[in-house]
């Protein structure tokens, strides 16, 4: 599965995207955020306040309770500031 990051999430993690194999225990977006925080200091720093992180699965906004299922691409980013 592909993870992609934008704006300060990207900058803090230090990567724009990566391929990952999720542990089977990671079922929801919330699980994913928790698991990522264990992957090192940059992740812990980027996701320290997981409640502000917005998530899109296969290019559609989802809540943190959403099940990941067969997602191909999950994007993590801060609240949007376009327009």
């Amino acid at each position: 599965m592909r993870l992609i990051y934008f704006a300060w999430v990207r900058e803090r993690i230090g990567a724009a995207e990566e391929e990952v194999e999720l542990p089977t225990a990671v079922q929801t977006v919330r699980d994913l955020l928790g698991w990522l925080q264990t992957r090192g200091e940059t992740y812990a720093e980027a996701l320290r306040h997981p409640e502000v992180i917005r998530v899109a699965i296969d290019r559609e906004h989802v809540d943190h309770g959403e099940r990941i299922g067969a997602a191909k691409e999950i994007a993590l980013f801060p609240p949007m500031t376009g327009g």
Binding site: E60, A75, F77, G82, G83
Partner: protein, 155 residues
Amino acid sequence: MSASPLTPRVSIRREDFDAGAEIVEITRGRTDIGAVVTFSGLCRDENQSLAALELEHYPGMAEAEISRIALEAAQRWPLLALTVIHRFGRILPGENIVLVVAASAHRQAAFDAASFLMDFLKARAPFWKKEHKREGAGGWVGARDSDAEAARRWT
């Protein structure tokens, strides 16, 4: 207003746009449009401190999400045409960022649809602004609570 035949035109691009040309494009050769409401969003720099805005976006999702919002507007109001353009990349103070052009037979639908689109663009379109200051550090623009509230008033 079921089964609207309207296909919104959505463009995500680096290049500038010409609001007047987009209005002409929407209205040319037809006589059913009575009202066109256009919103232009520009890069502000009130105290001459900004060198440029950098607009990051999620290429795969930006057009899809704006198209979803535009289609929802076309379902809620009897629109006859709808154009949304959002720029990305480096944008200088005074330059255009975003354009919405909504056309209808009557003015209220055009006003409401354009306002709705801007509220939802702000809240849901995957774009992020970073400020580059003339002196000192810039940084990512924070989301405004008032923008989230503005989107909620339509639900």
